[in-house]
Amino acid sequence: MSTETTKKDFLFDVQKIKSDFPILQRKINGHRLVYLDSGASTQKPIEVIDAHTDYFKKINSNIHRGLHTLAEDATNAYEKTRSHIAKFIGGTKTSEIIFTAGTTESINLVAYTWGETNIAEGDEIVITDMEHHANLVPWVMLAKRKNAIIKRIPITDEGRLDLSDIQNIITEKTKLVSLTHMSNVLGTVNPIKEIVQIAHQKGAVVLADGAQSVPHMPVDVVDLDVDFYAFSAHKMLGPTGVGVLYGKEDILDKMPPFNMGGEMISEVSFERITWAELPHKFEAGTPNIAGVVTFDTALTYLENIGMENIHAYETKLTAYAIKKLIQIDGLKIQGPYNTINRGGAVSFTDKNLHPHDISTFLDSKGIAIRAGHHCAQTLMKRMRTIATARASLYIYNDEADIDALHDELFAMRRYFGHE
């Protein structure tokens, strides 16, 4: 693969890509913006911004029930994105693609519907020690309501899942294994396919949180054989307020609906209510139509670069970032150093400085990173830290951005007197 990667690399002109993102022209405190917070939310290329404008200037209308031209154009555009996503994540049925407001809502939907009807007293729900709150709090609270048990797959000090005891963690009592595909803090990419096999052998259903993976590498949910998969448009060049829940049709079919209202019913009387067919059963009310329509353009933008290329490029850049950061005295990378099965979320701590001070200092130089617990307080505890600083990479970052980060981290230590 590595020779192929090198070849494809020539197709990937980062300077051209940078120029597609208007916000990168913005000056921050007099410096050029070095945006290293894509793990929180990515920037948007002009194509996506224009697609949104176009939608409101030419198509805007409510969807589905309308019989006029705008309503039909809007419905077609909305459903086009659904088909696009089905293709993008490995060729699912369109009935298996549900639009939500984001990863968080996708996971909560499963907890409120599948969880409410399938988890009973004494059942086990398996998560891991590196989950985002979105894939932790809903399950802890569900377990509390149901008197079910939360079990955790531990992690190694390097920040990888420790699967040595997996056969005792996932058992016949396990009803659900819910884990992140890629950690937003450590960058670790988990072996979903392997875990799915074990879980399915024990009769458990698997949900993978793809918020950090789908944007950065090719993902084939059919091949992974996951039962549910969740992700957010805003972390992959798309608009805010749009998420996806993929679910296997036979499982979705048996689930009760989540939110209730227009579009998700078939017939309503006080005696009897019947639900609409999939996927509409799970899409109550007016969705984020403009957002969904615009998401299509983001997917196309990513495909034009190629998810394989994006993955290869980011892996190289991540390796470069790690190499540069470990040169700084007192800095510790929190997460694997090896870039195999590792994405571009690079967390670090400084022996003397709190991540908030690091972030404030870097911002004064135009560098945007994130600092805090990254909605992963239990992982922070496991790592025996209260917070980390995190630089997270995307297609519009390059070595110059990493160099800027490195140089300012050096300058920072001088500023705070920790040379």
Binding site: N29, H354, H356, D357, T360, S364, G372, M380, I386, F416
Partner: protein, 160 residues
Amino acid sequence: MSENLDDMYREIILDHYKAPRGKKPLEEKDITSDGHNPSCGDELKMELKVDKKNNIADVHVNCKGCAISVASGSMLAEYIKGKSLKEVKLISEEIKKMLKGEESKITEDIGDLDSLKGVRQFPVRIKCALLAWMTLIEGVNKFENGTKPDSFTVSTEDDK
């Protein structure tokens, strides 16, 4: 946001941050109060010795957190020593107001504390500067109500 980095990280603040006052735990204490700031992870432990005239005889502050929370705790330790409980509560409320940009009635010279003003330009950091003062208020209140020491924890999230 950070054009005024030096406004926040003033000489004085960095000085307190690098060499925090009140580091030494007290042997005898009348008040202990713990505070923390969940969104940052900052944690602060405070011990106070109160003399018979209800003045602060001694202070210990141990803050694990960012430069701002550490410096703010250090300044507090320096400032409140010798002050009466009443004075101490008053100044804490005034510092809260100052940090939130509300009108404060501080007229006297508050020395180093004045340098905390720079934090105002960094709204997300205000909670860091507040931590020590909220922990102090809580501790003194409980002491006056006769609540036992070390039975409570302040969270900055409770302050709207």
